[in-house]
Amino acid sequence: MGVRKLHMRQAYRIIPVYTADVSGVCSALYELGGMTVIHDPSGCNSTYNTHDEIRWYDEDSLIFISGLTDIDAIMGNDEGFLQDIRNAAEELKPGFISLVSSPIPYMNGTDFAGLAEELEAELGIPVFSVPTSGMHDYVYGAGLALAEIAERFTGDIGERNVQPHTVNLLGVTPLDFGPQPGVDLMKKNLEAQGVKVLSTWAMGSSTEEMRGAGDAEVNLVVSSVGIPAANVLQKKFGTPFVVGTPLWGYESVCAGTVREMAEARKQAGDRPDEEKRTFCQGAVSSGDERMISEGSGTAQELWKVDPAQVAYFRDRVTGRDPDTRSAHQEITLIGEPVTMGSLAASIEKKYGRKVRVLCPLEITEGLLAEGDCKVTGEQELEERLSCAEIIVADPLYRPVCPGTACFYELPHIAFSGRIYLRDIEKLQKRREL
């Protein structure tokens, strides 16, 4: 029997997948006092709290699944789902509710935006949905979730009181930064450079601090998760943003770019463009699953990054061999584009060695420097790594790296989960010293 030949970028022999969108939403909203409900039969909760959430053991957060059954899915019975949420909300009194979809409700076309609207009207608290499908990576889910927070919970433009030399750190979750000391270190690094951090989205800050996000002079997007929120805040308050991670000795460049951006803001006047302010309203919870892959206008705007906003571009070596399969780049980094891009710039600046970033995540537009590349699937990654000399990546990438390469471990929770958590903690302690 003959079957259609497919391009097998979807088959994986040995390495895992990144944290998916559903867990991304839960991680981003974990500390904000809301209730996140995953419409799912089973498994999403266990996967999330076992592998993607290092706070679960003793830090309470209202994250639940609906326990969807085949009968309810087939019959389109949403009422049970709604009633369970009403009951839980009545007892647990969350500050808001977010609805998250797993693959079956996505496939059924469950109208989450409509359900959210109905619940919001009944319960009198903010209710929104994040259009996950369980088939995107965490950046997508966490990014859209934080954009909702930026849209709904940061007050009005009239309430802001811009403070000089201040930033919010956007895109901060344990998935990219591990336990809280990693976040504290970023803050400390910036403060040493004369930049005060007003809030960290969304880890280690109170909702009150986040509510005052409009007071920041500039927003600093420290991982790609923070881009949608940055765009929302830019349109809402006129706050410009810079993309870069203030770690690995790269904090001075980040701080410098923040200062430049602040200066530019002053010169341009900081009134937000009223006409553009509403662009993001509705984009986040439109339920349009194609918003990244095919792109509705509003969704593209949410993820938009201008090269001038990317701090780490300025220190990357240019004129590199565009054939990223070649070994001309001596050092290869694998991972999330903003953190790895910043690390690459830091290495190139400090040691003058050529570095390339391979990014296996979906959202890379505007975040990769010349010579870096997005990779899809295990086989492509193996091909790209075939001539690598020095590789810095999560330890679970080791099986697809050539045996001749020098491999330096840089654990990433969004990839290997909690397996190397102790190593991350040790690394954080070393950085603090």
């Binding site: 979807q10 997948v17 990144y18 089973s42 498994g43 909760n45 639940f64 290997s416 397996i419």
Partner: protein
């Protein structure tokens, strides 16, 4: 916040589900085995899952944490695959791609299809037929990760415990007895082992199979039996497939039931020598009395993860003077119906406490004073470092199982454990790299 809806005195509880269904919480206790752990018991086999990222993440990291990533592969489904509705081709080509990239083909592939395959009406027969043509030397075992079906039919775990034995075969050997459906070997001192030894029978279990050949030879047993409830359906099916006698002997804490089970076993073995029941009971009484002397009136809390018969254990302990305060469970097994009604009458104030009910996320988990927890969930929900660290009944069975339980309780009472470090590890008894 009050406990209403999350806890109920047994006298007010309804059988078999004492709590109203609602949103579900998942505690950070992960000692239970999941389908990845159980599937890894098949030697020289590879597991291949075909599902979406979010579902994949849990299983692929389960394999990684148990140091078995080299026996696990997968095919990712994306939104486009669903819109096209053709999961057959993706599954066939993905599995083919994985197998072609392996230097050595596995003896068997446990191929897990998922909820999405059901919902788009995938032709599973076509998938397996095509793969069997392409890889004639590989046995493809039909497995499922379809939890959406589990409230209205067998769970993925039950279906796996059926399918994973499809490769066993062999001529019937009179002196061989095969235990199917369990994740753990029976304890060396367990009643079943002692009875079989007395009667010159060899016990074969998947847990001791280190090769495909040894696995296949599980089929030689003249008698198939299972002691673990989720294994009953599969073991019964395999006995029927190979024309073997079958016994279901679930682990119990009731002297009379154990006695009846052992008589049944002896009958099937042809009326051989059994244990001295009176002596066994005397030793159990002695062990329980000793435990009672040590533990005294300290509150004891039990959970359903420790053993499939938590109410039976509660009854045993209560009748031997222990202060059993509560049992953590979400539903009651039909096998425990009598125990439930006995407890309603004789221990009406015993509390039944849910583990998945939403408010269990925020209810207090610290207790004043010492609490002896029997099971990982009981330990986490009470914050107790004094707990019996064992899941799914482990290798306990019979009168010996009762004595071992009493011994484990004493040990837990006397020595603290690092609860957080132990209960978060997946698959109690498996390797764990965390």
């Amino acid at each position: 916040m009050d406990w209403k809806g999350a806890a109920v005195a047994v006298k007010d509880g309804t059988f078999p589900v004492p709590f109203v269904h609602g949103l579900e919480f998942n505690s950070p206790v992960h000692g239970n085995w999941n389908i990845v752990h159980t599937g890894m018991l098949v030697p020289e086999a590879r597991q291949i899952y075909v599902c979406a990222d979010n579902c994949m993440r849990g299983v692929v990291l389960t394999a990684a944490e148990m140091n078995a990533a080299d026996r696990f592969s997968f095919v990712i489904l994306n939104e486009g695959d669903l819109l096209e509705g053709n999961l057959e081709d993706v599954t066939i080509e993905g599995v083919t791609d994985v197998l072609n990239r392996l230097t050595e083909k596995p003896k068997a592939v446990l191929l897990f299809t998922v909820c999405l395959h059901h919902f788009v009406g995938s032709d599973l027969d076509r998938i397996y037929e095509e793969l069997e043509v392409r890889f004639p030397d590989v046995l493809f075992i039909r497995c499922f990760m379809d939890p959406i079906m589990q409230k209205t039919g067998p769970t993925p775990d039950q279906k796996l415990r059926l399918a994973m034995y499809n490769g066993i075969k062999g001529e019937k050997e009179k002196n061989v007895v095969t235990l199917l459906g369990s994740d753990f070997s029976l304890d060396e001192s367990s009643d079943i082992r002692r009875i079989l030894q007395k009667n010159g029978r060899e016990l074969r279990e998947i847990t001791s199979c280190d090769s495909w050949k040894a696995y296949e030879s599980l089929g030689s047993g003249s008698l198939f039996m299972t002691v673990y409830p989720p294994g009953k359906m599969g073991a019964g099916y395999q006995a029927e497939r190979l024309g073997r006698e079958f016994l279901y002997l679930p682990g119990s804490f009731d002297y009379e039931e154990i006695h009846r089970q052992e008589e049944k076993l002896l009958k099937v073995l042809g009326g051989g020598a059994g244990l001295d029941i009176q002596e066994e009971i005397r030793k159990c009484e002695e062990a329980l009395e000793n435990a009672r002397d040590v533990i005294g009136d300290t509150p004891v809390v039990l959970d359903h993860l420790f053993h499939p018969r938590p109410l039976g254990l509660a009854k045993l302990l209560l009748t031997h003077g222990f202060y059993v305060e509560s049992v953590y469970l979400d539903s009651i097994s039909l096998e425990e119906k009598e125990d439930f009604f006995w407890l309603q009458k004789n221990a009406p104030d015993l509390m039944l406490i849910a583990t998945v009910q939403a408010k269990m996320r925020v209810m207090p988990r610290k207790r004043r004073g010492k609490v002896l927890a029997v099971g990982q969930k009981a330990a986490w929900f009470t914050g107790s470092p004094h707990f019996v660290n064992l899941v799914q009944g482990g290798g306990l069975w019979g009168f010996d199982g009762i004595r071992r339980t009493a011994g484990l309780m004493v040990e837990a009472f006397l020595h603290e454990k690092d609860t957080e470090s132990l209960v978060v590890r997946k698959g109690w008894g498996c390797e764990s790299c965390i």
